[in-house]
């Protein structure tokens, strides 16, 4: 099959970017979307042109590296599918495809489709963990965890940190990402001691990173390749409100940056 691509090209963070057109011929429907870009890049390199930069690694939909807007949708048209797992059979011969990077103030473009998602790491640093130094653990079966709780925790923990939720949100909010971690750890007994502190610190960091606020559009849930539910945001809000009401911990946490 043949497709026409309009790809965002931007040489560096400070350079101006623009959409550039490419004709991609001889594309097999069995190719993944990234394999289609590989093939195009191979051709560009041989022609002496600069290939399109994009992040990718596992190509199995689990590392969260790949991420791009495809025809205006984060990761493209297939539900529950990352760009690397999308296949060209989802398109038709002759289609025009627009490919752009995640657009969010908190995710500055580094080059072409590559953006800086460091803000996500910093949100985790703020409190997305259980403080359990190596060696301090008791037997794994010492605290039974109801299967339902473990399953719910796993549902939220499935987040791959790709950033599609932010890219899809009209406000560029990172609420789904942040809430997924708060819910994952909040479901488990191990997450309880730091639960309130975690909610405050992570939400605070999210705001510092210039992500927008959540107005419950629900676009994030639609775009999430792992099907993380927007219910996690409700959970986050409950934890946050409860925690904010208990001043003592709040000053502890915010003071520590």
């Amino acid at each position: 099959m043949k497709v026409v691509l309009h790809v965002w090209r931007q040489a560096s963070a400070s350079a101006a970017g623009k959409l550039v057109d490419y004709q991609a011929d001889d594309i097999s429907p069995d190719m993944s979307f990234l394999e289609m870009l590989d093939v195009l890049n191979e051709r560009l390199i041989v022609r002496g042109e600069d290939p399109i930069a994009f992040d990718h690694d596992c190509r199995e939909g689990i590392c969260g590296s790949c991420g791009m807007m495809i025809n205006g949708a984060a990761h493209g048209p297939m539900k529950l599918t990352t760009a690397c797992q999308l296949h060209m059979r989802s398109f038709s011969d002759g289609d025009e495809i627009w490919i752009e990077p995640w657009r969010a103030k908190a995710f500055p473009v580094i080059k072409d489709l590559v953006v800086d998602r460091g803000a996500f790491d910093r949100i985790i640093q703020a409190g997305g963990f259980v403080s359990a130094p190596t060696g301090s653990a008791q037997d794994g079966n010492a605290i039974p965890i109801p299967k339902q709780a473990a399953d719910d925790a796993m549902d939220a923990a499935a987040c791959i940190g790709c950033g599609a939720c932010v890219a899809a949100c009209p406000n560029a909010s990172a609420s789904l990402f942040t809430a997924a971690k708060i819910s994952h750890l909040g479901e488990l007994p191990q997450g309880q001691p730091e639960r309130m502190k975690r909610a405050l610190a992570m939400v605070h960091q999210m705001d510092l990173e210039t992500f927008g606020g959540c107005t419950l559009f629900g676009e994030c849930q639609e775009a999430c390749p792992k099907g993380i539910s927007i219910d996690t945001i409700a959970q986050m809000n409950r934890d946050y409100i409860f925690a904010a009401a208990t001043e003592r911990e709040a000053t502890d946490v915010l003071g520590s940056g």
Binding site: V46, C58, R117, D121, S131, P144, A153
Partner: protein, 640 residues
């Protein structure tokens, strides 16, 4: 000149060695720990767990990875599970049994003492991960669930749906982020290590390239830890993430670290077959699928073109069940892989190019119901359907073997230190625990054992013996190394040929898969040893890398990795050629029994081959660490 390999295995009974050794090792005074700077290259299970644990102990740590975040390391893709000798199922498991299974699975080419220690600490790993909030699968009573995995006859595998690696890595990543926030670890994402600096015989730092700006930087430390993963991508197509490479370990090899058993590579039997020339990587279907799936091909070649449903039960050959009645579909990976290749070579393969066999869930769905199968494998089935456009609930999956894991790696002693003092190697990057073949669900265990429990103890023994000396990157050795890296980048960019690095990599992969893959023979290996240098010449005279070194340049990154693979591939073939026996995943066609089973030669080959770099253009020097087996009897494997 050969190096004397001293594995420094502690004396005493096997089960007491680790405890005794921990007591005998020197400790670093807690107040002094922050004076020591440790560089950890890699943020996979091994690197992240090590960096976090070392920081918790008080060391100053810098951690490096080439991805944009440490959470994206290749470990994230592991699906099936992690072993531990908990014996929660009361089915006869024990540290001793896990030890024995690992040694036997490795076909008696691993070090007893290391493997026993691995089995011992395995139980602590599960506890640690649970404490971090890893959402392992649970039974209705709230206790941890287990399954049996690849060849094991006990249920000792812990799992988190089909995303065990992801959840374990996120646990380690979160611990790492916690330490970053505390100021104990400085994280350098999007940095690639391109050289290691050795001063007065000790590893003192690394040279990296900032992948965003292109800046080449020197980093000084008191000890360097490599947790840079495996080199399966030497085959171009493998189940590894695209960025997996041999660069870090190979550069260390060139600076004097011995490379052990490079030819030991594991081929995984259950991957999605190649769809065409454009294929960029292969996707693993977790072999936990083999617990419930039955492997078959048509008995008759003529049936291969038919739809699977049209082939009558009597016309199907469940060849694993037929050949290996006691293990059947759970036969070890190498056996299952070779058996698949055999039936395809006979012309009975299915799917495009006849390179595939069926993995059929129809019986399991009948027995357990679709709901249970969905619960167990839902996400794997989805992944399969997404890639192939076929529904495995309705028709059998097609699978074929693919390169998956590399048992070889930098040689390390009992303390996980390489032949360069101060250079430690952990996780898949070292060779230590799996011998000639790795059991399923044991890589995650080893990576976390090394990072959480072994290295944090053993590195102290090294650091306690060295003085903090105020070395800086101004030292001539660092400047020279930086110049070397810059010169190499300039040379790569200056070639301006006509071929992409990928196209040359693909060609290398083809050579390796054909000549140094699932089965090898002397003639083929010798051909490869002629073809590889030729291809390397082609690379250095005709590769085309657009752009400059002072920007994000993914073509340059790739080319640098391919250049290393092109040298390393030769070392693999050289190693495969000298090992004139079949053991584990290393199957030399000349050495097999009448019924095609691997023929091991304990008299001549019960050793670890540790290769030493001898200089540009010189053949590498083979050093041997003889393996002593005091606790197990060297049995011949039979899975019949």
């Amino acid at each position: 000149m050969t190096t004397k390999l001293d594995a420094r295995i502690p004396a005493g009974p096997l089960a007491e060695k680790w405890d005794k050794h921990r007591f005998e090792m020197k400790l670093v005074n807690p107040a002094n720990k922050r004076k020591y700077h440790v560089i950890v290259v890699g943020s996979g299970l091994a690197g992240a767990s090590a960096a976090a644990s070392l920081s918790e102990l008080g060391y100053r740590v810098s951690c490096f990875c080439f991805q944009d975040s440490p959470r994206r390391a290749h470990s994230i893709a592991a699906q099936g599970g992690i072993n531990a000798a908990k014996n929660y199922q009361n089915d006869g498991d024990s540290e001793w049994r896990l030890f024995y299974d690992t040694i036997k699975g490795g076909d008696f080419r691993a070090r007893e003492a290391n493997v026993y220690r691995l089995a011992q600490v395995s139980v602590n790993i599960i506890d640690q991960c649970v404490a971090q909030g890893v959402p392992f699968a649970r039974e209705y009573g709230g206790l941890l669930a287990n399954r049996s995995f690849g060849g094991a006859q006990v249920s000792r595998t812990f799992y988190a749906r089909g995303q065990t690696g992801q959840q374990l890595l996120l646990g380690a990543y979160q611990a790492l982020e916690k330490e970053i926030a505390r100021g104990g670890v400085t994280m350098h994402s999007r940095h690639e290590m391109l050289d290691i600096v050795v001063i007065d015989g000790r590893a003192r730092g690394i040279i990296t390239r900032d992948l965003v700006t292109g800046a080449v930087e020197a980093h000084v430390a008191d000890s360097v830890v490599l947790g840079t993963g495996g080199y399966g991508n030497v085959y171009y197509l493998s189940t590894n993430a695209k960025g997996c490479n041999v660069t870090a370990t190979y550069r260390a090899y060139k600076k004097g670290a011995a490379f052990a058993d490079p030819c030991f590579t594991q081929i995984h039997p259950t991957c999605i077959p190649v769809a065409g020339e454009h294929q960029s990587k292969l996707t693993l279907m977790s072999e936990s699928l083999r617990n419930d799936g039955r492997v078959w091909v048509p008995k008759k070649k003529e049936d291969c073109g038919k739809k699977p449903g049209e082939i009558a039960e009597g016309d199907r050959d469940y060849y694993l069940e037929r050949k290996y009645p006691s293990f059947g579909n759970l036969s070890p990976r190498d056996i299952a892989s070779r058996a698949a290749k055999e039936v395809c070579d006979e012309g009975r393969g299915v799917g495009p190019g006849g390179r595939g066999v069926y993995l059929d869930f129809a019986d399991a769905i009948k027995r357990l119901g679709e709901h249970t199968i969905r619960e167990r494998y839902g996400n794997l089935f989805e992944m399969y359907e997404r890639i192939t456009d076929e529904d495995p609930y309705k028709q059998p999956m097609r699978i074929y073997p693919a390169v998956h894991y590399t048992m070889g790696g930098l040689w390390v002693d009992y303390n996980l230190m390489s032949t360069i003092p101060g250079l430690h190697v952990i996780g898949e990057a070292n060779f230590s625990d799996h011998g000639a073949n790795r059991l399923g669900a044991s890589a995650l265990m080893q990576g976390l054992a090394d990072g959480y429990f072994v290295l944090p103890s053993t590195i102290g023994d090294y650091l306690a013996g060295v003085k903090v000396d105020g070395l800086t990157a101004e030292h001539a050795a660092f400047r020279e190394a930086v110049d070397g890296v810059n010169a190499r980048t300039a040379r790569l960019l200056g070639i301006k040929g006509t071929r992409t690095a990928d196209s040359i990599h693909r060609e290398l992969g083809h050579i390796m898969w054909e000549k140094c893959g699932m089965s090898r023979n002397a003639a083929g290996l010798k051909e490869a040893l002629v073809a590889i240098p030729k291809l390397r010449e082609e690379f250095w005279s005709n590769v085309c890398i657009p752009g400059t070194g002072a920007e994000l340049n993914q073509s340059l990154e790739k080319a640098g990795r391919v250049a290393d693979f092109l040298e390393f591939a030769e070392l693999m073939c050289t190693d495969a050629l000298q090992r004139e026996e079949s053991c584990g995943a290393h199957f030399r066609e000349e050495y097999q029994t009448k019924d095609g089973e691997a023929l091991r030669d304990d008299e001549h080959f019960a050793y670890v081959s540790a290769w030493e770099y001898a200089g540009e253009g010189m053949p590498p020097v083979l050093n041997k660490e003889t393996l002593e087996f005091e606790n197990v009897h060297l049995s011949t494997r039979s899975y019949k």
